[in-house]
Symmetry: C2
C-alpha cells in the first residue's frame, strides 16, 4: 500500500489537475494534425486554436508538465508531442477488455480511433453462450467466466463495460475481482467499486438529454412549448 504521493521526487511533474489531464489527449491530437500538415514549430496561439481552447489555458496546462517551449519562438511540435505522449502513457499500447459484445461492444471493438491512440482491444467477453466463440472484429469472443484468466494472462488493466445497465454492477465486480483497476462504463447505471479502482462513465442518453434541454429552452422563447 504505497499511498505516498511523492511530491515531485523525480523530474516528472506530479499532481496534474484532472481538467488538464482530460485535455492532454486533445493537445496530442492537435499536434498530430500539425505534424501531418508539415508544421515543425507552433506558438501557443496556433496550438490552442487547433485544440479549441484558450491560449492561456493551454500554456498553463503545459506548464504542469514542464517547460517544453522556447520563449519568443514557441513549441517544437515533435518534441512537445513526445513529451505529452510520455506523460499520458502513450509511448506504450494499453490493452483493454470489452465486456458485452452487443451492438455497442461490437462497434467499440471495430473503432478505428483506438489503435492510433495507443489503445488495443485485446479481448472480447460476453455472458451470452450464443456469442461466445463467435469472431467479432477479428477477435474470438470469450466467456465471462474466463475473465480472470484473460486479464491475468494478458496483464490487462483497463476494462470496458458495454452491457445493459442491469448487468453493469455484476460485470464491474468481476472486472475488479480479475484485477482490473480502470473501468470505462457505457452502461446506463452507476457501479460501485473499491478504492484504487478508477471508473469513468459515458452515458449516451444523457448527452442527448442535455441537448434536448437546451433545445427546449431555445424553443421556449418562441413558441413557449408548455406541457399544457
Amino acid at each position: 500500500m504505497t499511498i505516498l504521493r511523492s511530491p515531485l521526487a523525480d523530474g516528472s511533474a506530479r499532481g496534474i489537475p484532472d481538467a488538464t489531464v482530460a485535455r492532454l489527449p486533445i493537445y496530442l491530437r492537435a499536434l498530430n494534425g500539425l505534424t501531418e500538415q508539415g508544421v515543425a514549430t507552433c506558438s501557443s496561439n496556433d496550438l490552442a486554436e487547433q485544440a479549441g481552447v484558450n491560449p492561456a489555458k493551454l500554456r498553463k496546462d503545459l506548464s504542469y508538465l514542464g517547460s517544453y517551449g522556447t520563449r519568443g519562438v514557441g513549441y517544437d511540435v515533435e518534441y512537445l508531442r513526445y513529451q505529452i505522449a510520455r506523460e499520458i502513457g502513450q509511448t506504450q499500447d494499453w490493452d483493454v477488455v470489452i465486456v458485452g459484445v452487443g451492438n455497442l461492444g461490437s462497434a467499440l471493438s471495430a473503432y478505428q480511433g483506438f489503435s492510433t491512440r495507443g489503445i488495443r482491444v485485446a479481448a472480447l467477453v460476453d455472458a451470452d453462450p450464443d456469442r461466445v466463440g463467435t469472431i467479432v472484429s477479428g477477435i474470438t469472443v470469450s466467456s465471462l467466466d474466463d475473465l480472470i484468466t484473460i486479464v491475468e494472462d494478458r496483464a490487462i488493466s483497463i476494462g470496458v463495460i458495454a452491457t445493459p445497465g442491469t448487468a453493469a454492477q455484476e460485470v464491474a465486480d468481476r472486472l475488479v475481482a480479475a484485477g482490473i483497476t480502470s473501468i470505462l462504463n457505457f452502461a446506463p447505471a452507476l457501479v460501485q467499486v473499491p478504492d484504487g479502482v478508477d471508473v469513468r462513465k459515458v452515458d449516451l442518453s444523457i448527452e442527448l438529454q442535455i441537448l434536448a434541454y437546451h433545445e427546449q429552452r431555445k424553443a421556449g422563447s418562441d413558441k413557449a412549448g408548455g406541457a399544457a
Copy 2:
C-alpha cells in the same frame, strides 16, 4: 431576436447551471429506479445515494427548479420525477438524425436506452451510396443529400455525427444548413458551428486515454515504468 433573458418571468426557473443540467437526467433515472422498487417517497439522502452524489448537491440542484419537496418528509417520487422530466423537456419525445451508419452509427440506432429517455432515432443518413437504401434497426438509410428535406419534414432539431473525423466538419456544416441547432459529435475532431448551435462532444479514445494516464500513475509507484 428575443434575446431578453426574462429573469423568472413565469414560474419556470431560468439560468440553471450547466453542471446541474447535466445531473438532472441522472436524478431522473434514479427516480425511475425508485418507482420500480415501489418507493413512493424519498429523502434527499435516499435519492442522492441512488444517484451517486452528495445530498447537499442534490438539494441545491433541485432548488434551481423550485421547491418540490416537503420539509420533514422528503420528496414525492412521482411528483418530483414529473417536475424534472418537464424541466428537461422529457414530457415529449425528441427526434434525432444520425449521420454516419458505420459501426458506431448502427449501434447508436439500435441503442435501447434512448427510447425510454425520450430520444427517438427518426432518421439515418450516410454519404456512402452503398449504404443508402439499406435498412438498419428498421430504418431505411437516406442519402446525405436529402438531409435538408428530412430535417425540415420531420422537424428534427438534434443531429448526431457518427462519421470518421475527416467528415465531421462537412457533416456539421450540412446539419446546420439543414436547420439543426444541437449536435452530438462522436467523431474525433472538433467542429466549428455558428452561434446558437450547441455542440457536445463524446470522444471514446480520450476517455480511455485518461484512464491510461491514471493507470500509468498507479504503476509508476511500483515499477517506475519509465520510457528509458
